[in-house]
């Protein structure tokens, strides 16, 4: 070890007060109402009448320092040198002068090329994962898939034309870091992992055996070396072992496909949080633009917009009209693979005579 003096450790989270717009510091906890002036632009009013305008812009999440500095330049010019990022990687510019809204939007559009929107009943920016850019497990890309999809959906980002907000996520492996969303795109694998028996010494074999949710992995010996084997009939191709041990290769460029899941919701509003369910499977993993995915997402969105009542999220709409109608209206095919076979399977069957005939 060098004798260099180390910087202070364990400082924790930075002081947010120093990162807040002065109007937020002044009115912290004293806001009384908000209004969406138009898509992407909100105004918040404090109890003393102070107003704070916020303009939301869609970012590509992955940015060079040049782009980050351009964001800062704009925030310096219009927002007293403060800004915020939203949960879905939008940039939020807050300002107190109403007359600066238009010049700010103009600056965002021309200097950054970011669209304005993502508020209310729109499609917000897509929550996504790391993909081929920097993850060790992905079977598809994330940032590129999001770019391709948002190119197609940008007008839905810039307008509020749905019954309620639509959150979309993508995930590049079956671990599904993109999480539950109204519409989620997930990669799926279709055969058991291929084992590199020559490279098993890098893995902790008991952990590899223990992590399998299907108890399909058991110890084995190949060429005198300890390794594992996979019982093909038990394997459900989840890739849990691949995350534990890189020598258990689950991905297959020739056979991996994409699937689309619908109806996930995190908010506690109305019926509370809900899990997403399978809508479409077997779509090709087709970079650089994944047109089949865009088309299927568009089909779901169109049916949702046409059929849902105000405030119904995608899952609530499907719950009301039933899955039979969902498949009718989207034109997708219901198959035996749509029927749950996991531990809670029976609770997902129709356990009544309530049938739309």
């Amino acid at each position: 070890m060098s004798a260099t003096k180390l910087a202070p450790r364990d400082q924790g989270a930075p002081d947010y007060i120093k990162c807040l717009h002065p109007a937020m510091v002044k009115n912290y906890g004293k806001w009384v109402e908000h209004e969406r002036i138009r898509p992407g632009v909100l105004v918040y009013t404090a109890e003393n009448g102070d107003k704070l305008y916020t303009v939301r812009a869609g970012s590509p999440r992955t940015m060079s320092p040049t782009t980050v500095r351009k964001i800062c330049d704009i925030a310096d010019r219009y927002c007293d040198g403060f800004l915020r990022f939203s949960m879905r990687t939008n940039v939020e510019f807050s300002l107190t002068k109403e007359e600066d809204i238009e010049p700010l939007i103009e600056a965002i559009k021309t200097e950054l090329g970011f669209p304005i929107g993502g508020t209310g009943a729109s499609i917000s920016n897509i929550a996504h994962t790391q993909g081929w850019l920097h993850c060790n497990l992905p079977a598809t890309d994330a940032a590129g898939a999001v770019k391709a999809l948002m190119d197609d959906l940008i007008e839905e980002f810039e307008n509020e034309n749905f019954p309620n907000r639509v959150k979309i996520s993508t995930s590049c492996c079956q671990i599904n870091c993109g999480r539950h969303s109204d519409i989620a795109i997930i990669v799926q694998h279709h055969h058991a992992p291929r084992i590199n028996h020559n490279n098993m010494q890098i893995c902790e074999l008991p952990k590899v055996v223990a992590i399998c949710p299907a108890a399909a992995i058991r110890p084995s010996v190949v060429n005198g070396n300890p390794t594992v084997e996979v019982v093909d009939e038990k394997c459900m191709y989840c890739g849990a072992c691949h995350g534990q041990c890189p020598s258990m290769e689950i991905r297959d460029a020739d056979t991996d496909t994409l699937s689309i899941w619908v109806g996930g919701k995190g908010a506690n509003t109305r019926g509370g949080p809900s899990l997403m369910k399978l809508a479409v499977w077997g779509l090709p993993n087709n970079p650089p633009r994944w047109p089949e995915v865009s088309e299927a997402v568009r089909t779901i969105l169109n049916a949702y917009r046409e059929g849902a009542q105000d405030w119904e999220r995608v899952g609530e709409w499907i719950e009301r009209i039933g899955w039979q109608r969902f498949f009718e209206k989207t034109g997708f095919t219901f198959t035996k693979y749509h029927i749950e076979d996991g531990p809670n399977a029976m609770w997902t069957y129709n356990r009544s005579t309530h049938v739309r005939i």
Binding site: Q11, Y16, A139
Partner: protein, 430 residues
């Protein structure tokens, strides 16, 4: 945007990315265009794009994960080695540093520029704002520059985020800084918990990861309910605040049918009704879902006696299937130092029981599913509360500790207990 086509490409002769170039078209901002231009400053970014291009061409990934730790830390660096290091030498070591952002992802431009400057100085400079982990991500450091960047980051008041089997970087919504619906101070709670538990965040010692996300109200803008092991969600006691004048104005503006269809009938517990233009609430049955407040947000606000509901257990599907969060503390005030101590006391108990009894790689939701919520509560010293369940049980097979008859003498010493009592009559036996 019209001349986007003309902007394609850079002066970097090393770039060869025909497939990625297709992602420069279209109206959404392109990370490819941005990184291509940046590759003129940082040649390793050209190698990154070229490798990404090969991924697009072959639908294959070329990163291998490894472990690298900054002195004193057991996480915070996501270390990656390229499988194509022969071809792309600058990617041989190409790590991500997770940085704890200010709670709520708020920045002064001074702080954000500082972050960008440090990351540019030591690495490829690529920033991701933010990862789903709740961190600001900085990409592209080799082993040595990871250490250098980390030191400079820490010298400038930044700290590394969580990774591995540790407390992960906490996340919260904008909260009271800019939202009238926030029922408690999400930013203060996030910073308070981060700093209180910073040891657990930096030095992995859990069964597996533990995520805390914090939302000011049930709308859950921080995606806590389905995306964290411990969602802390703002709520209130007693009636919500109603401005009946503004209710009447809303009805005048939108019409009574609109209000019935979008507010009254959408209440999950059917506790709303209209009496003329007055909104009547069955306060006792309001579950604080926020729907009516969202719709009539100028007329309605959360009640004044505010606090949080704390849940436990959400994670995505690996390995036992999805687990959703469920209520563990129906209501807790979170205003004073003492309130905060109640929260940390709860977290301490939960962590202790989970880590003493959990299995390797077992998230807390999986652990609760395995041992049962009743056992879990007992283990943590928490009282069962009907608000923790949707219904009581349906299975009649229960070990009622109070009702079980005494065992034969000496049996209680046996481990495990063995039930070997004979039938009382031979008839019963026959």
């Amino acid at each position: 945007m019209a001349n986007k086509q003309d902007e394609k490409g850079t002066n970097n002769p090393g770039l060869n990315t025909p497939l990625l170039d297709e992602l420069e078209d279209g109206p959404w901002p392109s990370f490819v265009s941005d990184l291509k231009q940046w590759s003129e400053t940082k040649p390793q970014v050209a190698q990154l794009l070229n490798q990404l291009e090969e991924s697009y061409e072959n639908r294959w990934n070329y990163w291998t994960g490894t472990v690298l730790n900054v002195s004193g830390y057991g996480g915070g660096v996501i270390a990656r080695l390229s499988d194509k290091a022969d071809k792309y030498p600058d990617l041989a070591e190409f790590h991500t540093i997770r940085v704890i952002p200010p709670p709520g992802f708020v920045y002064s431009t001074e702080r954000l520029r500082n972050l960008a400057d440090i990351c540019e100085r030591h690495g490829a400079g690529i920033l991701q704002l933010h990862g789903l982990t709740g961190d600001a991500l900085a990409l592209g450091f080799d082993n040595e520059s990871t250490f250098e960047a980390a030191e400079e980051l820490m010298a400038n008041g930044w700290d590394l985020g969580g990774s591995g089997a540790a407390l992960r970087s906490l996340q919260c919504c904008v909260g009271q800084a800019r939202c009238e619906m926030a029922c408690f101070d999400t930013m203060k709670t996030t910073r308070g918990l981060t700093n209180h538990y910073i040891d657990f965040l930096h030095r992995p010692e859990f069964m597996y990861k533990f995520k805390i996300k914090i939302s000011g109200c049930a709308n859950d803008c921080a995606n806590a309910m389905i995306g964290s092991d411990m969602p802390i969600i703002g709520t209130w006691r007693g009636p919500m605040q109603i401005d009946q004048q503004k209710v009447a104005e809303y009805i005048d503006e939108k019409g009574v049918e609109h209000v019935i269809d979008n507010v009254i009938t959408r209440c999950p517990t059917r506790c709303l009704s209209l009496k003329g233009k007055e909104l009547v609430v069955d306060d006792e049955n309001c579950v604080r879902c926020m729907h009516c407040i969202n719709v009539m947000h100028k007329a309605l606000l959360p009640g004044k006696d505010r606090g949080v509901t704390i849940c436990l257990g959400a994670k995505r599907t690996l390995k036992i299937g999805d687990t959703m969060s469920s209520v563990i503390v129906p209501f807790l005030k979170l205003e004073t130092e003492e309130d905060f101590e109640n929260l940390t006391d709860l977290i301490d108990r939960v962590w202790e029981f989970w880590n003493d009894n959990g299995m390797d790689h077992e998230r807390i939701g999986e652990f609760i599913a395995r041992v049962g919520l009743g056992t879990f509560l007992e283990g943590c010293g928490l009282e069962p509360d009907p608000r923790m369940v949707q219904s009581t049980r349906t299975s009649p097979y229960i070990n009622f500790e109070e009702l079980a008859p005494g065992r034969f003498e000496g049996e209680s010493e046996q481990q495990p207990k063995v039930w070997n009592r004979e039938p009382e009559s031979s008839e019963a036996a026959g």
